[in-house]
Amino acid sequence: MDRKLGRFLLIGIPYFWLFLLFLVPFGIVLKISLSDVAVAIPPYTPTFDLDNGWEGIKAFVGNLDFENYVWLTEDDLYWSSYLSSLKIAFVSTVLSLLIGYPLAYSMAKAPSEWRPTLLMLIILPFWTSFLIRVYAWIGILKTEGLLNQLLMFVGVVDDPLHILNTDTAVYIGIVYSYLPFMVLPLYSALEKMDGSLLEAAQDLGCTAISAFWKVTLPLSIPGIIAGSFLVFIPAIGEFVIPDLLGGSDTKMIGKTLWVEFFSNRDWPVASAVAVLLLLLLIVPIVLFQKQQERAQEAEQ
């Protein structure tokens, strides 16, 4: 009996955590997304009120509808900013991978006494506030900024480049900010790789390059997937970076949400956008992971 209870508790705790920190907030947002705007505190109606008992709950449920979701389909703004977010997040993920992989690879190949220091260097930027690091990029990228001064001094360009307030600046900001999230899982995948596999490949006639493609890369795929998710998912909803570095024409779902929430004061529509974002993002990822798990099981 006791053992059963213990097992139940052990499984129960993470589920309780998931319930408290994911399902409950999601339920609240979902509820707001089915409400209507009101000039009140809070700025939507109906609000949950248990004083009226069962009748109150029935009236409450009766007042909920999907109007806001219908609204979202009627304006292409939401769809186009979602697509634009997808594009920006995707390109940033690929760039992070291209920069992060060689970094992680050379870290994993470095003499073992260096590795803690190298790891430290990757983590070091986190000691400064994220916001301040993004602000610092304004100073670097602006027309009279460090980058332009350097380029003009060296003679690469004659006129300063307009980088700040463009999508390019957003890419730079996202890649810079999320690069450690790509490097760390890649490093841990590459570091624990068995070196004798490479030796075997070379013994069997592989060149160093083809050994990399045939052995190292496939074995580091879990790291690539984990790193890509860690960059891609937060990048889609990113608000700070496009707001500070992006231009007036940079469309991202995070900015659209901000406008919905703050300028339109429309919490219900803002919530509907958030729910859709979650569904469009989480569902494919869950399916992808399921498929990965199945593939792994099949291998075994």
């Binding site: 231009g247 929430f261 703050f262 004061r265």
Partner: protein, 365 residues
């Protein structure tokens, strides 16, 4: 209405941190005001005089303040929304009526301002004016002369005539990132009611704004103070006091940049920042004391002399510095005053149309 727009720092702070308002033995008043909007000596003097500690916090957009107020339990005792926002917030039940018996400096107020505020806050029951100003054109005198051949700007033509604005593209044009400022200005320029909600009128305003969009470098509501003062841009549509701050910074830096502010002859938007007390303020009594202190003629004069905005306090006018009361950009003459217009808050449906229109204009497509 100093700095609307997506101010990030503030919104992060505003949503992330709840202001602690422990009712300790110490008397406090929690004030939430616009950034760069007070002479901090005033706060120290208030503390010394009353023994009430001022916890002073700043925002730079009405939207951030409003979202915080509408979420409830903001923890603030005195907040300073702009008239149009105030009206809607009163309707939402955000504020408590001021106890006029505690505001003994009431006699100092200027009826010219309180009569105009009446349309936002009937009877001035919920609020007292802190500062007011206009939304006009700030420009770099030399750059404009070089490109347009005029000594000074006196018309919205320079902004809304694409041919004229095109000549300024290379030296940099900023617009406020605030649809509630630019759309009325566009409507007014077209000879329509600046407060119009008519679909056709709004479409006309949108077309006008789209026609000048290619020549605008950036939409931003506070950056123009520094860019104008440094000579990085040559024209901006902005708030009076901010542009005058840019003018003074340029003069102090002695960097060869001369900035001037114009209230165009076609008229300009007049706005009012109002002190009000949230209904759930935990130190309402101290809030009244604070507001009453600010209403003192010498205190209000000190505030205006510092931030270069006009106030709604008649008694303070004799104590204002000459470069404040004597500056028609701050205290316009009566002829200009008549051309200033005010607007009312948009209903949610119109707000949606306005926001969408603005997104379109900003993204340029």
């Amino acid at each position: 209405m100093k700095k609307i727009g997506n101010s990030l720092l503030t919104s992060v702070l505003a949503l992330g941190l709840a202001v602690s308002t422990q009712a300790s033995a110490e008397e406090v008043v929690n004030v939430f005001n616009w950034s760069d909007y007070i002479d901090e000596e005033i706060l120290a003097e208030f503390e010394a005089e009353t023994g009430i500690k001022v916890v002073y916090d700043v925002f730079d957009s009405n939207e951030v303040l409003e979202t915080k107020l509408l979420a409830g339990s903001s923890g603030y005792d005195v907040v300073v929304p702009t008239g149009t926002f105030l009206a809607r917030q009163i309707q939402a039940g955000v504020f408590q009526k001021l106890d006029q018996s505690k505001l003994t400096n009431n006699g100092n107020l200027w009826n010219v301002v309180s009569e105009r505020v009446d349309k936002y806050d009937p009877g001035n029951a919920y609020s007292v004016n802190y500062m007011w100003g206009t939304t006009g054109i700030g420009y770099n005198v030399d750059m404009i002369k070089e490109r347009l051949g005029v000594e000074r700007i006196d018309s919205w033509d320079v902004v809304f005539d694409p041919e004229k604005l095109a000549k300024l593209k290379d030296c940099g044009v900023y617009l406020l990132d605030a649809p509630t400022e630019l759309i009325p200005a566009a409507l007014n320029y077209l000879g329509k009611n600046p407060d119009s909600r008519d679909k056709g009128d709004l479409k006309a305003a949108e077309d006008l704004l789209m026609s000048i969009r290619p020549f605008v470098r950036k939409f931003h509501s506070s950056e123009y103070i520094s860019t104008l003062a440094n000579g990085d841009i040559c024209l901006t549509v902005g708030w009076s006091g901010d542009i005058l701050q840019a003018r003074d910074r340029a003069a102090e830096a002695d960097n060869g940049v001369t900035v001037d502010y114009a209230i165009p002859k076609e008229g300009a938007l007049m706005w009012f920042d109002q002190m009000a007390v949230p209904a759930d303020a935990s130190n309402a009594d101290n809030a009244h004391k604070f507001i009453n202190y600010i209403m003192r003629d010498d205190v209000m004069a000190k505030a205006s002399n510092y931030v270069y905005y006009a106030n709604g306090n008649l008694a303070s006018q004799k104590l204002l510095a000459e470069d404040v009361i004597g500056d028609p950009a701050i205290y316009p003459d009566s002829g200009t005053m008549e051309r200033l217009y005010t607007i009312m808050p948009y209903d949610p449906k119109t707000q949606r149309v306005i926001t969408r229109l603005w997104t379109k204009v900003k993204s340029g497509s």
